[in-house]
């Protein structure tokens, strides 16, 4: 009995603090990352054995369209494409393409679902599987 008397207020206090996610200053979200940078980078990046940046970007755009995205922006010089999928939810994605050595291109994707960043490796893997099919090239993992 005594145990519950003490734990109840403690538990409630803990719950009150933990429910809003301990966020005391929401502007800290600006530089927030949830996983280690190195880990996220490897989840979000693949290398392809091609040096044709324009064709790769066009293939990225085509793949995003296949997946139901509407392209928001693209820039060949920077090598970036941003797109949004609306399907009862909002999924935003940015894909960048840049050279790696003289033989390969690195493709990196990052996505957010409504208000949260996607950290699930499987979701990114699905994207790279779809992209690999359209590229007729296999996607290599990068460390």
């Amino acid at each position: 009995m005594k145990f519950t008397k003490i734990t109840t207020p403690l538990f409630l206090l803990a719950a009150l603090i933990s429910l809003p996610g301990c966020q005391t200053n929401s502007s800290k979200q600006l530089l927030q990352t949830s996983e280690s940078q190195v880990k996220m980078r490897s989840i979000q990046t693949r290398a392809f054995d091609t040096t044709d940046k324009n064709k790769t970007l066009r293939t990225v755009i085509a793949t995003l369209q296949d997946l139901g995205f509407v392209v928001d922006k693209a820039d060949e010089t920077l090598g970036s494409v941003s797109a949004t999928k609306l399907d009862g939810y909002q999924l935003r994605m940015t894909v960048t393409v840049r050279p790696r050595g003289g033989q390969q291109l690195l493709v990196r994707a990052n996505a957010q679902y409504n208000l949260t960043a996607i950290n699930d490796p499987e979701i990114y893997q699905d994207f790279f599987t779809a992209l690999g099919k359209s590229m007729f090239l296999s996607a290599h993992s990068v460390d």
Binding site: M1, T4, K5, T7, T8, F11, L12, A15, S18, L19, N54, K55, L57, R58, I61, A62, Q65, D66, L67, G68, F69, V70, V71, D72, K73, A74, D75, E76, V81, A83, T84, K85, L86, D87, G88, Y89, Q90, L91, A111, Y113, N114, L115, T116, I118, D120, E122, I123, Y124, D126, F127, A130, K133
Partner: protein, 180 residues
Amino acid sequence: MIKQRTWYLWCVAVVIVALAGCQTIPKDALKLKPESLQKRALQTRMYEGVAEVDILSASAGVMQDLGFNIDESETKLGLIVGSKERDATEAGQVAAAIVIALLGGGAMAIDKNQKLRLSLVVRPASADDKQRHLVRVTFQRIVWNTQNRITRVEGLEQPEIYQEFFDRLSKAIFLEGHKI
């Protein structure tokens, strides 16, 4: 005993509230589905014997004909993005709102505004073929109701929309080709 049960119920309640706050992405959000190919066919047309830049400029013309503003373009990647904001009131919803008001249900929120977006991408049909180009257009919209809440976020997939758009584009490309 009773206190213990209450404590237990609190735990359960907190867990439920905490879980409801979690939003998880549908597992198949970035998977290609069988219907992806059908959509591609619906949203794509091929044009032969017209340069990419001419298709793009004809497309920009069609977008303006339809009242879209051009938000973004990158000709090096064959992309044009446009949007327009329009009325989203539908007769059915207004009728339902009137019936509910008459029955004493108060004011029901109905769809009011919508933002329609379009992105159009032109690309060569194949790497070594500069004569044939594929044009793919995709539409989506966000709808707000009279209380300024978002009621719909969706891609538009009615075949008629695409059919009409490409009918207009074909005419514009023809005119562009003949410099009229």
